[in-house]
């Protein structure tokens, strides 16, 4: 690229070839200042012709035929959601209340230092038992749910690799079917309504785990993992509603439907994930 820049030349090159900037005082001043420079005038004339051609070519590209309708539908949906749904509002209020209660209780807990030490020791012992148990379970044919969740949050934090990048729900379903990947026949309606980014099939300790990348309206990704419940030692019962919690900095939701267990991993808040699985 040419590093020698003349302010007058740059000013004239910034004026649109259609002449819409001709009234701009700085453009006019630059024209007057360079009127005697025949070489520059010729260069600008040729450039204006090329610029006009490139602009025409660019503006000739047609957007997708359904884009206008898609935009208007999305806008109407967004306008309808400006008032948060009552259930989400109630959850946020409850979350605020819970935090406030924790803050109120904190000084009392702090005054019982010996009890905290006892709890600490007990927690360390439980953690050691759990770690040993996790290692033992890994050697079994069925995974503990906690082990699966830990692997999935690791996958999410390291960055996923998609075999198929597609926004088409049907194409993703077809790819997963062809790959023999597990897939739940039913997702919560708000979850199912999200956009798609693509999918992948993982093998976690000999168990197939499919991933569908879902996309929220703010373009944030929700990882939806599905695996057969039969491969899990402690799959959530189908009768239980989705459980939402925070693990390793991610919001995780899990539930079972029919013979599949679904685990959502997202960087969004628990309130948003809860709203998706309600």
């Amino acid at each position: 690229m040419n590093d020698e820049h003349d302010p007058i030349r740059d000013q004239l090159r910034a004026a649109r070839p259609s002449g819409q900037d001709d009234a701009d005082p700085d453009v006019r001043a630059a024209r007057e200042a360079s009127a005697a420079d025949a070489e520059l005038q010729e260069m600008l004339r040729r450039e204006r012709e090329a610029d006009a051609a490139i602009g025409r070519a660019l503006r000739s590209v047609e957007p997708p035929a359904d884009l206008e309708a898609r935009l208007l539908t999305a806008m109407r949906a967004a306008r309808a959601q400006i008032t948060p749904p009552p259930d989400l509002e109630a959850q946020v209020i409850e979350a605020v209340r819970t935090n406030r209660d924790r803050e109120t209780l904190a000084p009392e807990v702090a005054s019982h230092w010996s009890r905290r030490q006892w709890f600490g020791a007990a927690a360390a012992a439980i953690a050691a038992v759990c770690a040993g148990g996790a290692l033992w379970w890994q050697r079994q044919s069925r995974m503990p749910m906690a082990f699966l969740t830990a692997r999935l949050t690791t996958i999410a934090s390291e960055g996923v690799t998609l075999s198929l990048m597609s926004m088409d729900k049907q194409a993703i379903a077809a790819w997963l079917r062809t790959a023999g990947a597990p897939r739940s026949a039913h997702l919560f309606p708000k979850l199912d309504a999200l956009g798609r980014k693509g999918c992948h099939l993982y093998d976690i300790d000999g168990h197939p785990v499919s991933l569908e990348c879902l996309v929220l309206a703010n373009m944030s990704v929700v990882h939806c993992f599905t695996t057969p419940s039969s491969g899990l030692r402690d799959a959530p019962p189908t009768s239980r509603p989705a459980s939402v919690r925070t693990e390793d900095g991610f919001t995780v939701a899990s539930w079972s439907h029919a013979d599949q267990t679904i685990v959502l991993v997202s960087e969004e808040s628990a309130a948003i994930v809860q709203a998706l699985v309600s």
Binding site: P7, E49, I54, L58, V61, R70, A74, A78, L162, G198
Partner: protein
């Protein structure tokens, strides 16, 4: 002819309810084409460009009241789209595709004279530029904004916009007409 008349600079904000919805939709109907084309030159992918345009429309539907000067609504929309593009690029940097192997990369577009350029080739040529240059030059070629408005939209000094335009044009000329 625009579907919604351009309001006067000191016009009050539109009334709530159905009239507001109609106004919001009218603004998007009027501007979605250049917004999509700008998104296309930024992303290079039609699906991503449509998503970016949709996200911009949704943000407008939610935050239209933040547009203080209705005469600058076009700049505001382009500005939102550009910010969303930067956010999208940051978010998706952690997602890679198995399809993105070097052997699957499309062939570079053959050199072509500007005068015989078609739309797809123009998008492809612009997409070869580095992002800061592409962001400025694409807005320039869409001819919707003056260089002063481009500076406002991208939050850049006017001198930077003019300098980037010059450099980007030189680079594009080398791509389209390497012999010159």
């Amino acid at each position: 002819m625009p579907l919604v008349p351009e309001p006067a600079p000191d016009a009050p904000a539109p009334a709530a309810g159905a009239a507001l919805d109609a106004w919001l939709e009218g603004v998007i109907r009027e501007h979605y084409r250049p917004l999509y084309l700008y998104a296309l030159t930024l992303c290079g992918q039609e699906a991503d460009a449509a998503d970016l345009t949709q996200q911009t429309a949704v943000i407008f539907a939610r935050k239209w009241s933040e547009v203080r000067d209705l005469t600058k609504i076009k700049s505001w929309l382009f500005s939102i789209l550009y910010r969303e593009f930067l956010n999208l690029r940051r978010r998706t940097a952690r997602i890679t595709s198995l399809d993105e192997h070097p052997e699957h990369e499309p062939e570079p577009h053959p050199p072509q004279q500007a005068q015989t350029l078609d739309g797809r080739a123009a998008v492809a040529a612009l997409h070869t530029l580095e992002e800061p240059f592409r962001a400025v030059l694409s807005l320039y070629y869409l001819e919707d904004l003056s260089y002063r408005e481009i500076a406002d939209t991208l939050e850049l000094p006017i001198g930077t916009v003019m300098s980037r335009l010059s450099r980007a044009k030189d680079a594009l000329r080398l791509i389209l007409c390497p012999a010159t």
